[in-house]
């Protein structure tokens, strides 16, 4: 329950099975789950990262990629400061659908949202269907950040989340984002400074019998 300077809200979007939940799990728990459990609705995860010497708490909302949940997940666009738009480099169709995802994001989210395009599963080079250049080009056209990751090997996963946070942080510094407006998806951390000095529970593990 450590303190933090800012809180950013993220959403992760993209087709079903591209590895959204795995990216989140790798980022928050440092582990990989090979089986695909369908996300029902929306799941929540959180972690603290450090950007520009500031501790920043990321609240991440992992959405269901299936079409049937699409209308529900739209409610999460408003109020997100960052969006991770994920496709699977081994499945061309997931790349082709990016345009509709982006359309949703533009339509329902805050205009200043930072979007990171992520080509996931880059460990499966042999099965690659979408080249890195294609991804880069799409990102450039639409003004997105771009990175290729592997939730399995953890390659670039940290960077994907942290780089997004860096951009949001820069936007706050330059005044593009207003921390007092909650619909921007950013907030300042709790102000109670006394909390940091509380003893950590871990220091006491066992004791005498009285």
């Amino acid at each position: 329950m450590a303190s933090y300077a800012y809180l950013f809200k993220y959403i992760i979007i993209g087709d079903t099975g591209v590895g959204k939940s795995c990216l989140l799990l790798q980022f928050t728990d440092n582990r990989f789950q090979p089986t695909h459990d369908l996300t029902i609705g929306v799941e929540f995860g959180a972690r603290i990262v450090t950007v520009g010497n500031k501790r920043i708490k990321l609240q991440i909302w992992d959405t269901a990629g299936q079409e049937s949940f699409r209308s529900i997940t739209r409610s999460y666009y408003r109020g997100a400061a960052g969006a991770l738009l994920v496709y699977d480099i081994t499945r061309r169709d997931t790349f082709d659908h990016l345009a509709t995802w982006l359309e949703d994001a533009r339509k329902y989210s805050n205009p200043n949202i930072t979007i990171m395009l992520i080509g996931n599963k880059c460990d499966l080079a042999a099965k690659r269907e979408v080249s890195r250049e294609e991804g880069e080009a799409f990102a450039q056209e639409n003004g997105l950040f771009f990175i290729e990751t592997s939730a399995k090997t953890a390659a670039n996963v940290e960077e994907a989340f942290v780089n997004t946070a860096q951009d949001i942080y820069d936007k706050i510094q330059t005044g593009v984002l207003d921390v007092t407006n909650e619909s921007c998806g950013v907030k300042t951390g709790p102000t109670q400074s006394g909390l940091a000095s509380l003893p950590s529970a871990a220091t006491e593990s066992n004791r005498g019998c009285c």
Binding site: G41, I72, T203, S205, G208
Partner: protein, 877 residues
């Protein structure tokens, strides 16, 4: 006035004749739908509104579509939106005069048929006009009441839907905010997805903001509404529970629970007033505590994380305050105790913290005399509530709900924690009389002494208040369960002073006497049930305890007699079943040689005099009884009547689980031959007790050697402890060596295909084996050796137990010395306190630690000018 005249001219008609309502309504509907001038449309809507109550069916059928179209088309204009909303609300609301009765629901369904209507209603919320917002929220509320699912689904798929409603919580007009709150409560009911979106849109922060602004639990009904919405969002929703913790919301709860007057808000010259409980405040507090418990449901995955967060934000202070302050309403008190129970349950850190909380009781009659304010461990006060002992001074008896809650807290405190178990059991023995601290603690009560007092009350109390015994028996039963050392300590408790020529009577015998008394005098069955569950837990898996029980030969005869009775004990199959259970346990664990009946003596009694089937039937009848079928996990009494009648509490969940998982084994043991019972059991007894002792000594060791205290007294004690430990350890090794030796002795002859030694023991002399006389002498020799070794082992074990008890006492004394020295101004590094925390440079953390664990509860409601007694950093049991 123009539109009035226009509206009514329609009613009157061109030729001044009255028209039928149907015609009029049709005309108005047409005009509303087709008039080109806004003014005309508005006039038509206003007229429809006027008619919508009286001619609901007519207006609804003719004009509903037109109104809905208008709503979307003219939504920018509050002047027309307001009457449209009011008309729609009239149409959709259920009215007892409706013909047919479902009319309102029918129109509601029609509104919801089209997704666009819901969207329009939500879009209207953007307008800040009071009546527009108010009516729109009300209409949604009405629709939600009659058709929850369709409206929930409709709102869910609108990306901005929930957000629009959430924005209303920020409306500075309380009426709108409150209406929105009520709407969100209904909307989020039983709908996971909506709950998540509401949470995502910042509900937690906003609700906590509102609650804080309203003064926490001291606030009005609006606070209760906020808590209800929090309930809806958190119950059964793990994702939201995590979110609640991760957004640091738990940290905001202690302030809300506080009953202390906020100094920042009071005028400097204002007399500091203590907080008086109102009905609403009590409801708020109980409800908020209930919500806290949602986060820490025993056994849930994230319970541990939430427990830790709760500890770190120091919620113990307000909870202890609520639990113990005499003016807290009972319902709140009970919830606070349950909440504390769930916070410490199975969480060693929190159990530890709780152990170290001390409170200062300000007695009622303490006027100026503040020198005698003795801090005592909080658990003592909790036990005191549980056994209902604080009835001095004509105070009202503590309601059962509160006592059950306090008992639950006691059980949670020792749950899954042998250390706290032992710490409490060690208070059963009163401190030695030569202990200088006894002057200080002379009249002070200990948790153990309170339990014993409650277990062995006078005649009248037991008859009048059976739960006095019952609660104490449940607690002590759990204290002894599965902990051999605790059982040994309890075996040593006795009453009567030999110096004065009194024969000491052991606790076990006293309890059995109380049991016999309760059965003979036909006291309420709960007295007997309580005592029997305690004895069952005590004797289970403990041959030494069985031996002590059998020392008094009348005990077992009493059991046999009662179990044999055809009509049940006092016509109560439950009590008889428990008596049968006790008898079964005695048969099974009767391993130690003692003055009483041996297993061999018992077998014919069980088999022939009572009959195995009879015993089994007694057991099964108890197991199938209603009292046994629905035990209470939280011990929550079914009725909340404070004194009028006894709650339906017979068994605690722990005991029922204990019986259910073992009953088959016990039943099997009944028909096993006496020689084989011990073998049939897994090799538990020896294996179980030694590791736990080893564990304790090693942890003690770590603690003792870690400290480098500067105090001479403490140093001396440490040396003594270390020496004792040394002794214990050498003795352990000795015991182990002896055990292996003994085992090899038993095994050697067996391997040589000699007849089973045990069988021989039983049938002494009748040596029917066709072996040589040399063999038999050898066997006899070995047998003798075995007996000797066994005796030696027993002696050693006893000695070790004594040393252990001494060790515990020394440790306690050490701590008391330290505390006293500190009171006297001696500077003792705090790291010394935590036995396990040997690292230096942690002083700062420990300072904070001390602050979090010591608190003062003024047990006097209106102590206006009591000077704050000096707080000493830490007090141990």
């Amino acid at each position: 006035m123009d539109f009035f005249s226009k509206g009514y001219s329609v009613l009157v008609g061109d030729r001044g004749q009255e028209q039928s309502p149907t015609e009029t309504i049709q005309r108005l509907a047409d005009r509303a739908a087709h008039a080109t001038l806004m003014e005309d449309r508005r006039a038509a809507v206003l007229s429809l509104k006027g008619l919508s109550r009286e001619y609901k069916a007519g207006v609804g059928h003719a004009a509903l579509d037109a109104l809905l179209t208008l709503l979307d088309q003219d939504k920018e204009d509050p002047g027309i939106v307001k009457p449209i909303l009011e008309t729609l609300h009239n149409l959709c609301t259920h009215d007892p005069r409706d013909e047919p009765a479902t009319l309102g629901a029918e129109f509601s369904a029609k509104v919801l048929e089209n997704q666009a209507n819901v969207e329009a209603l939500l879009d209207i919320m953007v307008q800040t006009d009071f009546y527009v917002r108010f009516n729109a929220v009300q209409l949604l509320g009405t629709l939600l009441a009659s058709h929850p699912t369709p409206l929930q689904d409709a709102i869910l798929v609108l990306p901005l839907g929930v957000g629009r409603l959430m924005d209303l919580l920020d409306d500075h007009r309380d009426i709108i905010r409150n209406e929105a709150l009520l709407l969100l409560i209904t909307l989020s009911q039983d709908h996971d997805d909506i709950q998540k979106i509401v949470a995502f849109q910042g509900a937690f922060d906003r609700l906590l903001d509102i609650m804080t602004a309203e003064g926490g639990i001291r606030g009005g009904i609006i606070v209760q509404d906020c808590i209800q919405l929090l309930h809806n969002l958190l119950r059964y929703n793990v994702s939201n529970q995590n979110f609640f913790r991760e957004t640091s919301c738990i940290q905001r709860l202690p302030v809300l629970l506080s009953t202390e007057v906020d100094n920042a808000n009071t005028q400097p010259y204002e007399e500091e007033e203590s907080f008086a409980w109102s009905e609403q405040a009590a409801a708020n507090a109980a409800y908020l505590l209930d919500m806290v418990r949602l986060l820490i449901v025993p056994g849930n995955l994230n319970t541990k994380a939430n427990q830790d967060a709760i500890y770190q934000c120091d919620m113990f202070a307000p909870l202890v305050q609520l639990s113990l302050a005499p003016d807290t309403p009972s319902a709140v008190k009970a919830q606070a105790l349950y909440a504390l129970g769930d916070i410490v349950r199975a969480n060693h850190t929190n159990q530890d913290v709780f152990m170290r909380i001390t409170i200062t009781v300000v007695p009622d009659n303490a006027a100026e005399d503040d020198t005698k304010l003795i801090p005592e461990p909080v658990i003592v006060s909790i036990v005191n509530i549980a056994v209902g002992a604080n009835r001095a001074g004509g105070a009202l008896p503590t309601p059962y709900a509160v006592r059950s809650a306090a008992t639950y807290l006691c059980l949670s405190y020792i749950y899954d924690n042998p250390d706290t178990q032992l710490a409490l059991v060690s208070t059963l023995t009163p401190p030695p009389s030569d202990n200088p601290n006894s002057v200080l603690h002379g009249s002070a009560r200990s948790a153990g002494s309170l339990l014993i007092e409650a277990l062995l009350p006078g005649d009248e109390t037991a008859a009048e208040n059976p739960f006095c015994t019952w609660y104490a028996a449940v607690i002590l039963g759990h204290l002894l369960a599965g902990h051999p050392t605790c059982k040994q300590l309890a075996l040593k408790v006795s009453f009567g002073e030999p110096e004065r020529g009194e024969d000491p009577v052991s606790l076990m015998q006293e309890l059995t006497q109380a049991l016999i008394h309760a059965v003979e005098k036909k006291l309420d069955s709960r007295v007997a049930i309580g005592l029997l569950t305690l004895l069952c837990r005590w004797l289970n898996d403990s041959p030494t305890s069985v031996a002590q029980f059998l020392e008094e030969s009348t005990n077992v005869h009493f059991l046999i007699e009662e179990v044999t009775k055809a009509s049940g004990t006092n016509n109560d199959p439950v009590v008889q079943g428990l008596l049968a259970l006790l008898l079964t346990l005695i048969y099974q664990y009767n391993d130690e040689p003692c003055g009483g009946l041996s297993r061999h003596d018992l077998q014919p009694i069980l088999h022939q005099r009572i009959g195995i089937d009879t015993i089994r039937n007694r057991l099964n009848r108890m197991r199938d009884s209603k009292a046994f079928q629905d035990p209470s996990f939280s011990l929550k009494p079914t009725a909340f009547h404070p004194t009028s009648h006894l709650p339906e509490l017979y068994f605690d969940q722990g005991f029922v689980d204990f019986v259910r998982s073992n009953i088959d084994g016990w039943q099997r043991a009944l028909s096993t031959s006496p020689a084989k019972v011990a073998q049939a059991r897994s090799p538990q007894p020896a294996a179980k007790s030694s590791p736990s002792i080893a564990e304790m000594t090693s942890s003690d060791n770590a603690g003792a050697s870690a400290g480098t205290g500067a105090v001479v007294g403490a140093e001396e004690h440490r040396a003594a402890i270390a020496a004792l430990e040394q002794t214990v350890q050498t003795q352990m090794a000795e015991i182990q060596a002896l055990t292996t030796q003994m085992q090899s002795m038993v095994v050697a002859p067996a391997e040589a295909s000699a007849p089973d030694i045990k069988a021989k023991e039983s049938s002494t002399g009748s040596n029917d084996a066709p072996s040589s006389p040399a063999w038999s002498t050898k066997v006899a020799e070995l047998e003798q050796q075995l007996c000797e070794q066994q005796e030696k082992l027993a002696a050693l074990e006893k000695e070790q137990e004594d040393l252990l008890v001494y060790l515990v006492e020394q440790e306690t004394q050490c701590k008391q010395y330290r505390a006293r020295l500190r009171e006297l101004g001696e500077d003792i590094p705090l790291s010394d306190e935590d036995d396990d925390d040997g690292e230096g440079g942690e002083d700062e953390t420990n300072d904070d630690d001390a602050d979090t664990t010591t608190m003062i509860v003024a047990l006097e409601p209106k102590s206006t000018s009591t000077p704050s007694p000096k707080v000493t950093p830490n007090h141990f049991v």
